[in-house]
Symmetry: C2
Subunit: 345 residues, 2 copies
């Protein structure tokens, strides 16, 4: 075992404690990564807010860094390689989903980057709010040249989560896409949809997002409190990506979907209720997505490097993780906090 430093939650408070963490010595197929930058995801906030306090919980599942050591069987990476890690660090490898390259849907459930259970030693995984992470090499990704390591950290969770439905739903030139909610996921969804050539709109409660929507490349902003504008956009979009993280009525968003189009609900992962009539009237579809497989993650990173897509971030020293969580909770971020881990050793 080896030691590193990290930030742990002790109960539901967002004030995190600096702690010394144990990491396993690299197995033959592991790489050790010096974590440089880790994004702050809504999942982190949820994990902290629902944490009982006894168990060790170090959040963080979208990070970039540099390989510092490789296991003896590792051939894909060498020391010094810039890498990225997302919210999955292992899977069974043998089920139909893993075989299809969709490790995120592993029938035996993928191992999560934190609060997961290691498939070999049964330990609880601890996340990227720490200076070092040891990960199976299959679940580390080369960070393409040209991508800023800090701004690209959020691609590994927020980015892949919106990339997957854009890709699965065949979004490309001419597709009419709307993105509901302009936060961490939403602003990346806009950038990716625009880069894919889609005609892209933003749906938001507040008109003050208009300037940002245009800056991100969107054609227009639909304000949900403007009922006339909402009615005018009925049946207009082939794909609506709903990135709103709080529970909400899907009806108004389904009504914006064109015939045979899809509402992909990405931001809120609890139970959702829909009126069958809202699906029926226009043969609309409701879908969801989360994370992505290894192949899609690598493809997404290559696409982002080619098109200059990364997150709009506010970079904070990792000691200010609690402040980032607090501000994320009240929606005070444009559009993703990233922690700089260089204040840990």
């Amino acid at each position: 075992m080896r030691s590193t430093e990290g930030w742990r939650a002790s109960g539901p408070a967002t004030a995190l404690q600096r702690v010394v963490l144990k990491r396993r010595d690299p197995r033959p197929d592991d790489v050790a990564v010096r974590v440089d930058y880790c994004g702050v995801c809504h999942t982190d906030l949820h994990a902290v807010r629902t944490h009982a306090g006894d168990a060790l919980l170090v959040p963080g599942h979208e990070f970039t860094g540099v390989v510092t050591e490789v296991g003896r069987d590792v051939t894909r990476f060498g020391v010094g390689d810039p890498v990225a890690v997302g919210n999955i660090v292992d899977s069974c490898g043998s089920c139909a989903m893993c075989q299809a390259g969709q490790e995120n849907f592993c029938h035996q459930f993928p191992t999560l980057t934190y609060a997961g259970t290691d498939r070999h030693d049964g330990s609880t995984t601890q996340g990227g709010y720490s200076r070092e992470y040891v990960v199976r090499d299959r679940f580390a990704y080369h960070l393409p040249a040209g991508l800023d390591p800090a701004a690209s950290a959020p691609l590994l969770c927020a980015g892949i989560t919106v990339w997957e439905p854009l890709h699965a739903l065949g979004v490309g030139p001419g597709t009419r896409v709307a993105v509901a909610g302009l936060g961490g996921l939403g602003h990346l969804a806009v950038k990716l949809a625009v880069a894919l050539g889609a005609k892209t709109s933003v749906i938001s409660r507040s008109a003050d997002k208009a300037a940002d929507a245009h800056r991100l490349g969107a054609d227009d902003l639909i304000v949900t409190t403007d009922l006339e504008q909402l009615a005018g956009a009925r049946d207009r979009f082939d794909v609506v990506l709903d990135t709103i993280s709080a529970p909400h009525d899907l009806g108004p968003y389904l009504r914006l979907v064109a015939m045979d189009g899809t509402l992909s609900q990405l931001g809120y992962l609890g139970p959702v209720t829909v009126q069958t009539m809202d699906l029926l009237a226009g043969r609309k579809k409701l879908s969801s997505s989360g994370s992505g497989g290894r192949r899609a993650t690598a493809a997404m990173l290559a696409f982002c490097a080619e098109h200059g897509v990364a997150a709009d971030i506010e970079l904070l020293p990792s000691a200010r993780a609690g402040e980032a969580l607090d501000r994320l909770e009240r929606g005070d971020v444009r559009y993703r906090f990233v922690l700089d881990l260089s204040d840990l050793s």
Copy 2:
């Protein structure tokens, strides 16, 4: 105005009263139809069971018969033509959905065959449990030669409701389709899926449907109470058509859908709750459908004539409509009641 006889509900009891009904004299674009056969739909049961009793309610929205009179502008039909009418008898004709041939999704709402409001005189429409119906010619369909008039009556609601998603989801040779619920909709869904060349399974609570499933052309039966069999069918179907009419948990059916596949919920039209995780894990989609536009209805009838598809029916004199509703309520029908209206004048 002219007179005919029909069967009205007076409150939520299924015992219907024989009454004399007024029908309008044909307008220039109307045809008058002698109703010979009318299917008994779950919607009829629901309408009767929720009927307050004061207003006139004559159910019935899937019927076949013969044209007896045509309005002066009608060119598509002549007296003596065999015709069929479904659950929509008018629409605005000018909205985007009507222009696209999807009158069933008319933005101003289509006029329903009964309990709808006529767009011209504001009267409440009365349905096909009667000897005559007067309908705008655009919403009558030629009944193709070779289709039995009694067994094809249910095609006009049950048939088109399952045809639409099969068509919209591109079901054809090689598609893996499962039909949940083997009732009026379900048995037609199996026949149509098989005729389209799909590899078709039936999902049912009871193993005693196995013989019928095979007779209808299905490859196998999955019994939902057999948890091992259910687990073995996980992620197996490109399309699951859920024709179960009672509220139920969609989770077990979503888990049978293959990656990027669709669960089309057709039998129950109220609010439905799904766990986002059931959609997420496999990028699955939830959709619905109901009825169809004029173009699809005509295409479905032509397909059924070509492939010899019609409903398995139990034919009853219309005086026994109440008995049919009672037995439908307890699931005692294989697979659709059709009323013979020749006992009315």
